[in-house]
Symmetry: C2
Subunit: 403 residues, 2 copies
């Protein structure tokens, strides 16, 4: 179902020294599915993260932000229930889960980061999660990345994981990560849930900077439906069991590798976007600022009319011009705007290009992946957003989700 995306091969997901993962079926929402993940980190690990800017951020997000100040020893993630819009009661339940895990692992409650994803505004079944912890703890092992990716899925149809290795001055570092997310995807800071670990030794402040840069170049460039989740979190874990990354060059190398993994995960989320049949890159060039290019790119990527045209492979491309026009770019001179579909020049100087033939547009849009490129011709900035189409199945999935 997903666009050019297959489940990762477990053998290609390098274990990360200092990270163990265990999963369980806790019956959070449905029976007989992996829905609980525990991650244990070696002492001395650095952890950094970015979180949703949705004001209704979930109870676990509030706790994870708070606990991030401490030396983190474990993460606990459940799917099936977001524990958002649950007020003070939600905080109590999330804390109960952290407390139980801390007690089992022999650390403090403040050293556990909780994460939840699923239905909003329903009470977290914390007792069922706590009851599932022993099974997940018994399962803890370094080679469990694929099972971990499966345990955090909601409406995802394909598990999402990526892994690379990079040479630093003192040896080879491994970076492996997982993510989930299929609907309610328009990260404002991060994605639904993304976890990337490395064995490199990185100071927390450097890791936080790299994490933010990676998020900005990956999860913060995607949208499925424009809905910013209450539970977005992207976490980077550096165990320090491998090579040290301290020099500018090493940090640059590890940052680039981490961004590569994050982009692969972020694009996987769009490829598996709810109902997606097309993976579309929206590139806006020659704007005055990256911010205005992003505005235009998101206007295109969020327009239901543009997205249904993508679905139909119908080059009804005037809808893209309309979206550019209402994106809110002050003083935009539309008579300077050019529009391309892959290499096909569709609109020139704000109007249909004389040489454009509709069969060219159809040919480009029939492909499962293509690029919409808008050239504003008023500056030197650019931005890219990855998105998908709006299909019958998006409506079906979201009209039937929960039932």
């Amino acid at each position: 179902v997903a666009v050019n995306l297959r489940a990762p091969d477990a053998a290609q997901l390098h274990p990360v020294a200092g990270v163990e993962l265990g999963v369980a079926m806790a019956g959070v929402r449905k029976a007989n599915r992996k829905d609980l993940l525990v991650v244990r980190l070696a002492p001395g690990s650095s952890v950094a993260g970015v979180f949703t800017r949705n004001r209704f951020c979930a109870a676990p997000v509030l706790l994870a932000k708070r606990h991030l100040r401490n030396p983190v020893r474990a993460l606990v993630v459940n799917t099936g229930n977001a524990n958002a819009g649950t007020g003070a009661d939600g905080l109590r339940r999330a804390l109960a889960v952290c407390r139980a895990l801390a007690s089992s692992l022999g650390c403090k409650v403040g050293q556990v980061l909780p994460f939840s994803t699923g239905v909003i505004m329903e009470p977290l079944p914390d007792a069922r999660i706590v009851a599932g912890l022993p099974q997940a703890i018994a399962d803890l092992q370094a080679g469990n990345w694929l099972a971990a990716a499966e345990a955090i899925m909601t409406t995802d149809t394909v598990a999402k994981a990526a892994s690379v290795q990079v040479r630093l001055s003192s040896g080879r570092a491994t970076i492996t990560g997982i993510a989930k997310g299929s609907g309610m995807i328009r990260p404002d800071m991060a994605t639904m849930l993304g976890f990337v670990a490395t064995d490199a030794k990185i100071a927390r402040s450097a890791l936080q900077r790299i994490t933010k840069q990676a998020a900005d170049a990956s999860f913060n460039c995607i949208t499925v439906d424009g809905d910013t989740s209450t539970n977005d979190a992207f976490m980077c874990l550096a165990t320090g069991k491998g090579p040290v990354a301290r020099s500018g060059k090493d940090l640059k190398a590890i940052g680039a590798a981490l961004t590569q993994v994050a982009q692969q995960l972020a694009q996987a989320i769009v490829r598996d976007g709810e109902g997606a049949t097309k993976f579309v890159t929206v590139r806006v060039e020659r704007g005055r600022s990256a911010a205005e290019c992003r505005k235009v790119a998101y206007a295109i990527a969020h327009s239901p009319l543009v997205k249904t045209a993508f679905f139909a492979s119908d080059p009804n491309l005037g809808r893209i011009l309309a979206a550019i026009g209402y994106a809110g770019v002050a003083g935009l001179d539309t008579s300077k705007v050019d529009l391309y579909l892959d290499e096909v020049l569709v609109a020139k100087s704000g109007g249909r290009h004389a040489g454009y033939r509709e069969d060219q547009g159809v040919a480009a849009m029939r492909k499962p992946e293509f690029t919409v490129r808008a050239v504003l011709n008023r500056g030197k900035a650019a931005a890219t957003v990855w998105t998908c189409d709006l299909s019958f199945d998006y409506v079906k999935i979201n009209a039937e989700y929960r039932s």
Copy 2:
């Protein structure tokens, strides 16, 4: 198909002295359908209007704005082609239509206002429209409002018209109007196309003020899909053949009546929104400003997740909290937010209300019309937006539109 909306009864649409309407089948896009409307105004009429703020506004919008400076004698409206994203060539074609009509009616080209609606970025078939003008002119009559409403439809399934009479100090004034619009509906200034006429005598400056107020209280409060059209225009025509409206009291009365007609037309557009099965009023109360209330209302009304939940009658109401949370209200304290579905208290102080039972939510949402009410509890301002759900048919219509 439309939600609690039937085609108007021609007998209930009062003719407006000084206004004649004529329609034709010009074959703009499809054969054998009314697609051309000519409106002739008595000399001395006042005309006011508000237009889209989409930067890619259509050629006819540019011309209509320019010609509005002159004493207007006629309007010409075609459906099937928006003449937007068509550059200088689009202006030439729109002007050719104005010129032909002016010549037939014996007025100047600058006294004709052109309007177009339909597919964007395709050349206007001006020759076919010009060839259709004699048929429309031969059809000119005061009792033609229903035919006029039919002649401007695109994906509309029901013709939209409304008519009221109001007593002024010097006699009874009539107000009759038509509108069209079904998709690409998120007016930023006005709707797709709305035309309201009155026989009252109103100075142009007063008419412009009343028109803006009526638009703000009607077309500027609706959304179907969040896409602001390139062709939005809402025009008010005052022929002066009936009672004079000059006193503050008369102007207030006529303004209220005009707003009533405009609201009826605007709500009809939402009821007939593409694929709509629900008509939903989103009311946001106790915000700090009307602007922030509108932000929240539109975030709810535009969320594809909220709209598909409406479609499914599934009270997955956490999605509404999520939309409130990302609406961009700085400093919003979510622990003060209450949420109602009609009279049912769903969330209290930012979390699920203890007394809320899901069957209450289902009962409210199963109705074809209901109200979502969010109470921010941080000020005294409020705003209302009317919207519809997102259904399979929205995708179907927009994936197949044009074919």
